[in-house]
Symmetry: D3
Amino acid sequence: MFARLLHALTPLTASAHCDLPCGVYDPAQARIEAQSVKATIAKYNASDDEEFRTRAILIKEQRSQLVKEHLWVLWTDYFKPPHFEKYPQLHSLVNEATKLAGAGGTKGSMDEAVADQLLSKIDEIAKIFAETKKA
Amino acid sequence: MFARLLHALTPLTASAHCDLPCGVYDPAQARIEAQSVKATIAKYNASDDEEFRTRAILIKEQRSQLVKEHLWVLWTDYFKPPHFEKYPQLHSLVNEATKLAGAGGTKGSMDEAVADQLLSKIDEIAKIFAETKKA
Amino acid sequence: MFARLLHALTPLTASAHCDLPCGVYDPAQARIEAQSVKATIAKYNASDDEEFRTRAILIKEQRSQLVKEHLWVLWTDYFKPPHFEKYPQLHSLVNEATKLAGAGGTKGSMDEAVADQLLSKIDEIAKIFAETKKA
Amino acid sequence: MFARLLHALTPLTASAHCDLPCGVYDPAQARIEAQSVKATIAKYNASDDEEFRTRAILIKEQRSQLVKEHLWVLWTDYFKPPHFEKYPQLHSLVNEATKLAGAGGTKGSMDEAVADQLLSKIDEIAKIFAETKKA
Amino acid sequence: MFARLLHALTPLTASAHCDLPCGVYDPAQARIEAQSVKATIAKYNASDDEEFRTRAILIKEQRSQLVKEHLWVLWTDYFKPPHFEKYPQLHSLVNEATKLAGAGGTKGSMDEAVADQLLSKIDEIAKIFAETKKA
Amino acid sequence: MFARLLHALTPLTASAHCDLPCGVYDPAQARIEAQSVKATIAKYNASDDEEFRTRAILIKEQRSQLVKEHLWVLWTDYFKPPHFEKYPQLHSLVNEATKLAGAGGTKGSMDEAVADQLLSKIDEIAKIFAETKKA
């Protein structure tokens, strides 16, 4: 089932993420890291082990950073001027999403709701991404 | 369409990739990098610009390394002894896949067929992964 | 002289670049890397040693990447909604600057003029940055 | 015993650890990091300074990760199919060793005995490595 | 004003920091990171939020490491034998500065005075650097 | 001679290489990377495959950088003022060794003799290191 879905998905997501560019971009990369951030927050809140909680903070810091990096790559390397014209909110959207993965977002918070806001923003970006791939 | 597929996919791929562990693992991470490797090889072969080809070699080296790292994480952090018992070929499979992303594979080759072999191996791992998630 | 200039400069540039945030941001970080990119291009064009030229390509790749990262940090971590309101061109400006350090810019080119365009864009961002620091 | 083996091993160990491959591999790389993990745990347990203990947790996280990476390189890049045939336990051994440097091992524990188990596993791998170098 | 200072500064600081070498070195890189360390210590001491303080410790660790790396590059890549002859204290000065960014300095301390000592040492190095640039 | 020293050294080398500090330092880390550099140069010179040679250049760049980093750690973190007093040549020795792993050394050269000079310098540092461990 997974394999079938993965295969079904693959042609749609053939886009570019390295800066050759290779032409392979995929918002799933940011989403996977954001899910990790959310799960880490949940585990942190469920634990009262100080060592575990310290590890959770540092891992959340790293994963939030990866969310930012994957979104920056989409913003700079995938999206082109015509996309920004067609979606005038796109600059703000990515800016807000990356802020939500920073000090004012999941880096600085242990509230799962903040991770959910981040995931929603990523989904909005993924929706625009998917539309531009079809165009 | 992409968004719907992504959402359909998400529950299945909610697994662990950081080493808290957060519990979020996804073979798609390795697959995206391997697709990048394949696309980079194609662009290399289609170009006769020496600077571009040098850049392609170094980017392919980095992306092949990421394939290895994502697969190693699955092998060490996601798969557990019962999985290795149920799938006796799993050790060899991951070992061969990571070798296919190394010097004897996509790092050392500019043959797209090698990248296809790597993608096939990743798909075999993804298939086992999907079965263990359902179990 | 340098020390005096450095000191004179310091109060103006006391801003934030890590994501605590510590509050220390400075467009000079991006500029130094861009100067390195420009100097690397010049040395590449002046050399006919194949090994040296290969090294120049890979170092230019790394330094261009650092330019992008420093600019992304300013865009996400330093600039706030009121800045984007006051400077409506700011989103496009940073987007164009980071593109100029990518595949369509200094990563993909051995033309010093491209590095100069990148430096000009960084200076435009630095000018806005300086104005917001005074405000 | 290990020390003696390590000594016997050293002249032989001119082998490969980068993925050219250069042919220079050495289990000492993983062992040095594991010794660092053990020493860090000892210092953590001997201290009641909260800042120091937080630093110890993050350094132990990094060094445990390096143990995993060095062992993965041996498993994928140095060991070949004939080695896995001759030493049928080798896959499990490396898998267990890397797990011992992860969340269920030294990353997730402040027990020196766990670091000792990790060191023992590395010694078992080093013994096989030494035998294959002599063969 | 900032832009003018930056421009005034640039000719003096056109030196080398990557190892092509590109010829662009600048002690400002170490200084910016050290200012970040100092600001992080101040924010740590002003906060009683445990999560924030843990984040401050790990960020201070990273930024102190960057100070060390930027200074090592100056010591090895920029300064040449004639500089060490003319400034016999230069070896000790850089050694002490890098120690001040390590375990016995800002990594291991939450005292702002330690960060100030580090900044002073960097300024001494920057002064010598500026003199060698004029020579 | 070095091999004998290394053997004598090993039991003593439980010392510090991370910056907690954990107390585990070992010049073998720099030596392994330098051996890799030497082997990479030999393979480069024996090959006329352009892709392979490009890969060799980039791997040599990375491994030379690791040599520098391991030596810098010894210089800043392991060696203390009494060592520099007892071995007045130690500053220059480490400075020269790190330069030999840089642009004027193994990064910028494809001459195996340069790698041998680097290895000799590392052996001189290792000899002093061993003496300080016994003291």
